[in-house]
Assembly symmetry: C2
Homo-oligomer: 393 residues x 2
């Protein structure tokens, strides 16, 4: 049972059949997107029917690309809480501030959504061995679902990634290779080994299905807000698949009649001052981002100097009337402390970055204090405990 | 709105009014238990009515002791997945093995349930400052809910607790005191400071409400299994409140007519070979456990040499026809690796201990391979990444 009709290239718009494994578009090397028969879905279900389904990402089963449920891998991904941040909001004079806590996903980050989907689908389409370059959280998530599926997992991470990320992958049975360099260097080595050994590459946006898992954040947010999207969404972007995925969800939900047309949020990309290629490209009016030299930040998920989906992210920011903003590592940590001490959420620095960005955008009057704003806390701080060692003395 | 009738001492059975703050029984220093008008609850709701409630622990609102919902603190605790462990089961020849993954709670452990309840109720009853001695996970959970409630949090942990536990508490705004010694030493210092400074002590079983939060594991398990309890539950016991709480839930559910009478599981307590007071007392036929000398184990949650609820734990084990068993640190870690690589769950050593115990009890033929068994993975491995450093080289 699937409503998928085909895959469509985000660059050249060529169509490809969905029932085989693909990476990037074989014609133009851009990401492939999954397309559905939304008209038929609209006839078959309505959003009220969701109400009695289990609260995890598979409640949006019709807009997910798996054919046969026997391949569905679940560890409880999705269904994360959306909190009205009353105390933090009171402190900032912002009565309509919300937090989406993705740290409650399996493996402690939103990456679980994308990889539950991608690994399920890879298994369904016959992959035997999976490979991923990762700044950290994606590797843990891939290792978990690979273990559950029985597929072998090869993980490539920067050698200086904090050891909890490595520990997690090893405990989950993955083969970990540490690479001197950044995630882009990991990507090159992973790609070469995939070619040599026939592993399937589940790099973000280099296969079509992680995006589909991540888009469930958009569906879930809409449902949790009573099918009324907020005014602004602030999201930390490394590869940017979360942001791009939510935008795709909003398009689909409009077509399904689940949300009113023309009321989408302004989308904000947050990056680190030490690695802000999207921020730079956005403000320079460029369609693509240049690779960032000497990328450095404590937020490993944001240490992505070049992203294959750069033009898609920039497109979403512009189409939505959004913006892009960089924050410093110190600002991220201060924001984490503020989040923790007012709302009881121990956020990763990427999560803290959204609050730091929100504070800056309030100051600039780019956001009004009355506006309904959602900050995505993309992961928990537990794998980043080393950042708090300073304060331990 | 509350169905609470009174508090009852687990030692001398004296009754106390519930609408004020209590620690241990003022007469005999035993834990106080919350009693409800179960007859009235039975008239007012039935288990079918739960079906459409949000999947978190507050779905069992009628059997939770909060009076006014305005004090209800939630970060998304409860509603954790119950997995049928098909791959692991296949490997062990055990087709009916289940895992309850409590690592998906806020702050990564089952402690969130007890402390969401205790802090909500402490706030409702007028506490201003909270205090907790903890081996690690309880401290993080208390810090989170204290932050959310706006109450001040004082945390006392052994000085040699892994630093992620300390980092989490500090990021959540708690005041952390490191104590040379074990959790029992922390407890003494916390108790003294509570007396001196009027802090409210939320030590496990030293106030009546953490038990009520933890008992929701029992309600949830029953509901997830279609109101049929398993044959055996294996649970890692430090303070033992999880085990005692589930047993209380089973009693209540029988009185409510939610589960059939006389079909409760055999309850198994797992401890570490380096700290096994309950195992020793159980097999020696004692009613109370002696304090364990020189307690040591990598599983911080099991490093509890003496527990105020020892006689309650021992009572549950005996009444249920269960047992108590110790496993070594090495066995725990091997079991964690097995869990991770077959089921994709990165478990804390306490969680791994349940699998190690299961394997031993199969070997002894104490458990039959066909029996329906639930292992409680009480927390995730993310705060224990240092244990995997060995394998990082």
């Amino acid at each position: 049972m699937t409503y998928v009709t085909h895959l469509e290239c985000s660059g050249c718009q060529r169509r490809f059949p969905s029932e085989q494994l693909w990476n990037l578009c074989p014609e133009c090397s851009r990401p492939l997107l999954v397309r559905y028969n939304l008209t038929r879905i609209r006839q078959d279900i309505n959003k009220e029917m969701l109400r009695h389904r289990p609260m995890n990402m598979w409640r949006y089963r019709e807009v997910l690309p798996l054919k046969d449920d026997q391949h569905l891998l679940t560890l409880g991904e999705g269904g994360t809480p959306l909190h009205h941040a009353r105390q933090l909001g009171a402190l900032l004079g912002a009565p309509n501030l919300y937090l989406k806590d993705e740290g409650l996903n399996p493996t402690n980050s939103f990456k679980a959504r994308g990889l539950a989907m991608a690994v399920s689908r890879a298994k369904e389409l016959g992959a035997k061995t999976l490979s991923i370059p990762s700044a950290g959280n994606a590797a843990g998530a891939m290792s978990a679902y690979a273990a559950l599926s029985g597929l072998s997992a090869f993980v490539y991470m920067p050698a200086d990634v904090p050891h909890p990320f490595i520990a997690e992958c090893r405990a989950l049975g993955a083969t970990v290779t540490l690479v001197e360099g950044l995630i882009t260097d990991c990507g090159k080595i992973a790609a070469r080994r995939c070619q040599e050994e026939g592993h399937f590459d589940v790099s973000t946006l280099k296969e079509p299905y992680r995006l589909e898992g991540k888009k469930t954040m958009g569906y879930e947010l809409a449902e949790q807000m009573g099918w009324q999207l907020p005014d602004v969404i602030i999201y930390p972007t490394g590869g940017g698949t979360g942001l791009i995925g939510m935008w795709k969800a909003f398009q689909e939900m409009e077509a399904l009649g689940w949300i009113p047309e023309g009321h989408r949020p302004r989308m904000v990309s947050v990056q680190s001052e030490g690695c802000a290629p999207i921020v730079k490209a956005f403000h320079e009016g460029k369609e693509h981002a240049e690779v960032w030299d000497n990328a450095h930040t404590i937020a490993d998920g944001l240490r992505v100097p070049g992203a294959v989906g750069d033009f898609l992210m920039l497109g979403v920011l512009r189409e939505s009337g959004g913006t892009a903003i960089a924050v410093s590592d110190t600002e991220m940590l201060k924001a984490c402390q503020l989040l923790g001490s007012t709302q009881g959420i121990f956020a990763s620095p990427e999560g803290g970055a959204t609050l730091a960005a929100y504070q800056k955008l309030l100051q600039k009057n780019w956001i009004d204090k009355e506006e309904k704003v959602v900050l995505f806390i993309t992961g928990s701080g537990h794998k980043y405990a080393h950042l708090w060692q300073e304060s331990l003395k």
